[in-house]
Structure formats: structure tokens, C-alpha cells
């Protein structure tokens, strides 16, 4: 019996091939749009987070609880910071741990001076967490123990320095004295972010600690890279719990860069809106087709019921038809949509012709927008579309099933 229902459903689908083709195409286009948008959104989200976290932020940061937002040089992490960083590397979910110190100071060359953030970092540890080390236009970041300094491109321009030039740093040290020293420029970085390129200088961690009169174990922050940015929150929570020190806060990037998190959340809501629109369009299209398909066939259903078919079987028959329709659409969508998704994930849309370097809330955005494969999301979307199609068919089918056969044979419905 079931096989004949499938046969009837399938053949009914091709009773009006044009209508079926149009509906299948509409659903397929919907699915392709979904796949495309899903891929694009997933890619943009990935890039946004990566670019937002990779440069300097890291995915998770550890501080003394009071350190943010004032960033006082006295608020160092209340443990041996270097040892803690090493120890965190033993965790399976941590790939990189970069201890840092940071202070505000004056950078001078000749008679020109500028205020800037002085960051002390370990070049090797940092390379496991952030990409600053790959943004050098000339030279390199200071190596371990080197009394050199790396500066941003615009700061170098303002002060008129280049690698080999000398700079004087002046800052308040933790012992109350005035830290004051001379450094040779080792390299010049260009990140595209004015805040960094014009307002940050980099020293080796140990050298910076010396300038700030901090002992080797005293650091202000540890930036971490975990398995994926998506896991930052749980990783942060797990570390905070395992440390168990009340005065230490472990914060994921969402907390450290709320604006970035806001952008990401917004792109998520756009995705849901797109979802909804496509769904509604596809559902309306199926509903329309199924209404027509059921209503023009009422007499036939009536005859089937008259000769002994259970009324509820009408529902099974219509569902068989709808699901066939959805599967045909899925096939069309896969054939037409795969190249498109392939293109967006591999080549992407290059916006560099229209803009040069977009900076968005502390993030440098790549001018090429690339998609990412989102197979799970697409499977869910396609599955939901099939369910949607089934629901759309269910409405006319249940109405027909509830109608007396006598009425159906007159071509009427309850």
C-alpha cells in the first residue's frame, strides 16, 4: 500500500510539471540563498573574530581582578606570571600563552615627544598567540634580553625614526622612581589600526620589567590562544575555576572587546533574519502549490475514500508528494548551489577595489570577504525546509481528510 502511495505521490507531482518545476526552483533558490548566506555569514564571522582577536587581543586574557579598566602598573597578577604562563601551556585547550607588562609613557627622539603605550612582551611566546610579529614592515620585534624597541609606522613617521635610530622612553616605575632609558629601534610594524600604529611601542618583556622596576614574575596580563574563538568563554571559565584565586580574572574576548562581540551578535541576528525570510518564501511557495494540487484533486480523493481508502491516507499521500517535491528541490539546490558556495569559500568577494582597508571597532577587516563551509547549519536549514514543506502540505491535506467523501466527490471541501 505504501509503495502505491509513493507512486501516486510521485506521479501526481509531475501531473503539472511546470508548476512543480517552478515550485522546486523556488525552494531550491531559497536553499541556495540559505547556503550562500550561511557560508558568507560564517566566513565573515570567522574573519571578524580572527582579525579582532589575532592582532593583539588573544582569545582569553588573565589579569589581576582590578587591573581593567584603569590598567595601573601596580596591579600585577598575584602569582608568578611567567610560571603561570608556562603552566597554562600544559592544558589541552591552550596553544599559546603570552605574558605582558604595559604602562603609559613618553617616547622622545631629538626634540619630538609623544605619549604611547609601552608594552613588554616575550617575542617567542607572543608569536604563538598574536600576529603582531608578522606585521613588521622593517626589522623585527625585540628579541629576548635585547635593549631595542619596535614602533608603529605612524609613530615612526611623527618622530622621524627608522631602524637603527635611538629613542628615549620616560615612564613612572613601580618603585616610585622615574623609569628612563635609551633604546635602538629594532623594527617598525604596520597593523592598519591607528591606535596601534600611532600609539604603541614594544619592548622585550624582561627589558620592560627592568624599566618599570617590576620583578621577573610580576606581569600585568597573559594573553591566551585556545582551540577556537568560539570556545573562549568555556575555556576562560575553566581556567578561572582551576586557578581558584579570587583576585585573578580570566576573561574571554567577548568581555575584553564588547564592541567586537556586538558585531558578531549582530551578524548572527542578520543570519536569523535571512533564514526567516527564505523560510517564509519557500513555505508560501509550497503552500500555494499544495493548495492547488489538493483542491484540484478533491473529486479524486473523494473517489478513493468512497472505495474504502481511510481518510487519513489522503494525508500520507499528500505528504509523499510534498516530500518528493522537497527532495527534488534539494537535488536542484545541491547541483546549482555547490559551485556558488565553492566560489564564495575559495575566491570570495574582493572589495579592495572599492575600499582600502576597513577598520571596524578596533578590528582591521580583510577587503576580501570569504565564506566558510557551514555543512551542519546547511543540513539543519535544508531539513527544516523539508519539514516546512511538509507542514505546508499538511494544511490542505488534513482539510481534505476531514471532509465527508460525499462532499469530496462533489469537489467540495470542509
Amino acid at each position: 500500500m505504501d509503495s502505491v502511495l509513493l507512486r501516486i505521490g510521485w506521479r501526481n507531482l509531475w501531473r503539472n510539471p511546470r508548476r512543480t518545476a517552478i515550485t522546486a526552483l523556488a525552494i531550491a533558490v531559497g536553499m541556495i540563498m540559505l547556503a550562500f548566506v550561511l557560508s558568507l555569514m560564517a566566513g565573515m564571522k570567522r574573519d571578524l573574530i580572527n582579525q579582532g582577536t589575532q592582532l593583539m587581543l588573544g582569545q582569553v586574557q588573565i589579569h589581576k581582578r582590578d587591573y581593567r579598566p584603569d590598567r595601573s602598573i601596580f596591579d600585577t597578577v598575584p602569582l608568578d606570571g611567567r610560571a603561570l604562563a608556562d603552566q597554562l601551556l600544559d592544558r589541552d585547550d591552550i596553544f599559546g600563552a603570552a605574558p605582558r607588562v604595559s604602562a603609559f609613557g613618553l617616547v622622545s627622539s631629538g626634540d619630538k615627544s609623544l605619549g604611547a603605550e609601552i608594552v613588554g612582551m616575550d617575542r617567542d611566546a607572543e608569536s604563538q598567540v598574536t600576529t603582531l610579529g608578522r606585521k613588521l614592515e622593517a626589522g623585527d620585534l625585540p628579541g629576548r634580553g635585547e635593549r631595542t624597541i619596535a614602533v608603529g609606522r605612524s609613530l615612526a613617521n611623527t618622530l622621524g625614526v627608522s631602524p637603527g635610530s635611538e629613542l628615549i622612553l620616560l615612564t613612572q616605575a613601580a618603585d616610585g622612581s622615574l623609569g628612563n632609558d635609551l633604546y635602538t629601534v629594532s623594527g617598525i610594524f604596520r597593523t592598519g589600526l591607528e591606535m596601534v600604529d600611532g600609539g604603541m611601542v614594544v619592548l622585550d618583556l624582561g627589558v620592560a620589567q627592568e624599566l618599570l622596576a617590576l620583578e621577573a614574575g610580576r606581569i600585568h596580563e597573559i594573553a591566551l590562544r585556545s582551540t577556537s574563538p568560539a570556545r573562549a568563554m568555556e575555556v576562560a571559565a575553566a581556567i578561572e575555576q582551576s586557578l581558584g584565586v579570587e583576585d585573578i580574572s580570566v576573561a574571554p574576548w567577548q568581555e575584553l572587546a564588547p564592541q567586537l562581540a556586538g558585531w558578531v551578535a549582530m551578524s548572527d541576528s542578520w543570519m536569523w533574519i535571512m533564514y526567516l525570510i527564505v523560510f517564509v518564501l519557500a513555505a508560501i511557495s509550497v503552500l500555494n502549490t499544495m493548495l492547488m494540487a489538493v483542491f484540484e484533486r478533491l473529486r479524486e480523493f473523494g473517489v478513493m475514500a468512497a472505495v474504502g481508502m481511510q481518510p487519513r491516507t489522503i494525508i500520507t499521500m499528500v505528504l509523499a508528494e510534498v516530500i518528493s517535491l522537497a527532495l527534488v528541490s534539494l537535488l536542484v539546490a545541491t547541483i546549482l548551489g555547490a559551485p556558488l558556495v565553492h566560489w564564495i569559500t575559495n575566491s570570495g568577494i574582493d572589495l579592495s577595489a572599492t575600499t582600502d582597508g576597513i577598520s571596524m571597532s578596533g578590528t582591521v577587516v580583510d577587503p576580501v570577504i570569504r565564506g566558510a563551509w557551514a555543512p551542519a547549519e546547511f543540513a539543519v536549514a535544508a531539513g527544516l525546509l523539508v519539514v516546512c514543506a511538509a507542514l505546508a502540505g499538511l494544511y490542505p491535506a488534513t482539510r481534505a481528510a476531514r471532509t465527508d467523501p460525499a462532499r469530496l466527490t462533489r469537489g467540495e471541501i470542509r
Partner: protein
């Protein structure tokens, strides 16, 4: 109810409401049909022929009265049970639109057997035998739209008799056919009635069709005015 009764009705009424007007389409009909009868229901348009057949065939529910078909009181059954009863005891032939458009003649004819769960070989055997008997052999694979009106009605008859029901109800089966084709269809029905003892109740406008019946029931305004 004695065994030899195919149908018995007891004061059945069916009232249709259209606007403020209510029409008693069937207005207190009591009658009996014996097994093996070949009865015609005649009457002017709107006299209640279709309504009566639908009630006897459990396609519609009475407002008053009771109906028995082959010993079962159908007016006491639920929807699902009525569908089952139709499947096993009643065959239906309508004036037109009898067949499922996407199924072949053969598939249409075996549809009820399929609903009954009869296995494929047995279905084929029975339906092919009937096709041969009523002049449909060679047309098994045609779709309904590739058949003439008379051929379509024959397929509907084949479907109805394939399960050997107690009763076949036919609502103006010849109305859409020319008179020669209609006469040929009646020949088939008559032959099945004579050879297999199948009970037929059919409605008609056509005096030439009425002549062929062994019993003629005349309706006017939902009541029996003549029965002989």
C-alpha cells in the same frame, strides 16, 4: 435482518441547509433490497437519488433513521469503520471522474484489492480475468485520459467487482455516455448480476436504462412514489 437482504433502510432523512432554507433531500425513506437484485432509482433532477445512494454507501451520514448493509448497521459506525465497510462490502461507480488519473487502468482496477492487502499476483490474476470478461484486455497500461468514456466506466466497474462486494452502487453510470455505449455498459452490469449474483442499485434519468432494471424505485422530493 434476514440474510438475503443486501440493504435495508428505516425512515431515513437527510436535510440540507442552504441559507435559511432547509431541504429534505431524503425525506423518510424505508425500503429493502434483496441480494441479487438489479434495481434502478429514478426521479427528476433534485429528487434525492444521489443523496440516497451516498447514504446507503456510507459516504454521508443520515440525520434520522437507520441503514443496514449486508447485515451491518452502518448508521452506527464511526468514520474509520465506514471506510472499512466500503472497502469490503460496497462497490462504487460514479457518473464521471471515477479513476485516479496517475494510475494505469490495471492499477486503478486493483486499487481496492491493494487497500485490502491482497498480494500482487492474486490482484493481477483477478483483475486480468475481469478485464478479459468485460472487454478491457489490451488496455491495462493506459492512463484514464487515454481511454474513452465507456472504457473508463468499465474500469470503474472492474474496480468495483474485483473485491466481490455485497453491493454495487452506481450513480447515473451511463449519463455521460452515448446510448450505444451506455447500453453496452448495462450489458456488462447485467451479465455480472446474472452470473455472479452481484447486487446493483443504480440511479438514472434515462427511460431506456430504467427498462433494464428488475425493480424500479421512483423518487420525488426525497420520497418513494413508486416501487415495483
Amino acid at each position: 435482518m434476514p440474510d438475503e437482504l443486501a440493504v435495508r433502510t428505516e425512515s431515513i432523512r437527510k436535510i440540507y441547509q442552504s441559507g435559511d432554507q432547509s431541504v429534505a433531500a431524503v425525506d423518510g425513506i424505508s425500503f429493502e433490497v434483496h441480494k441479487g437484485e438489479f434495481s434502478a432509482i429514478a426521479g427528476p433532477s433534485g429528487s434525492g437519488k444521489t443523496t440516497l445512494l451516498n447514504l446507503i454507501g456510507a459516504l454521508d451520514e443520515v440525520d434520522e433513521g437507520r441503514i443496514w448493509v449486508d447485515g451491518t448497521e452502518i448508521t452506527a459506525l464511526g468514520r474509520g469503520e465506514r471506510a472499512d465497510l466500503r472497502k469490503h462490502k460496497i462497490g462504487f461507480i460514479f457518473q464521471s471522474y471515477n479513476l485516479i488519473e496517475v494510475l494505469s487502468a490495471l492499477e486503478n482496477a486493483e486499487f481496492i484489492l491493494l487497500l485490502q492487502g491482497v498480494d500482487p499476483a492474486e490482484r493481477q490474476r483477478r483483475v486480468r480475468a475481469i478485464f478479459e470478461r468485460i472487454g478491457l484486455d489490451g488496455l491495462e497500461d493506459r492512463r484514464p485520459h487515454q481511454l474513452s468514456g465507456g472504457q473508463q466506466q468499465r474500469v470503474a466497474i472492474a474496480r468495483a467487482i474485483a473485491t466481490q462486494p455485497a453491493l454495487i452502487l452506481a450513480d447515473e453510470p451511463t449519463a455521460n455516455l452515448d446510448s450505444a455505449t451506455g447500453a453496452a455498459l448495462l450489458d456488462v452490469m447485467e451479465e455480472l448480476n446474472r452470473d455472479l449474483g452481484t447486487t446493483f442499485i443504480f440511479s438514472t434519468h434515462d427511460p431506456r436504462v430504467m427498462e433494464r432494471a428488475t425493480r424500479l424505485i421512483r423518487l420525488v422530493d426525497g420520497r418513494i412514489v413508486e416501487d415495483h
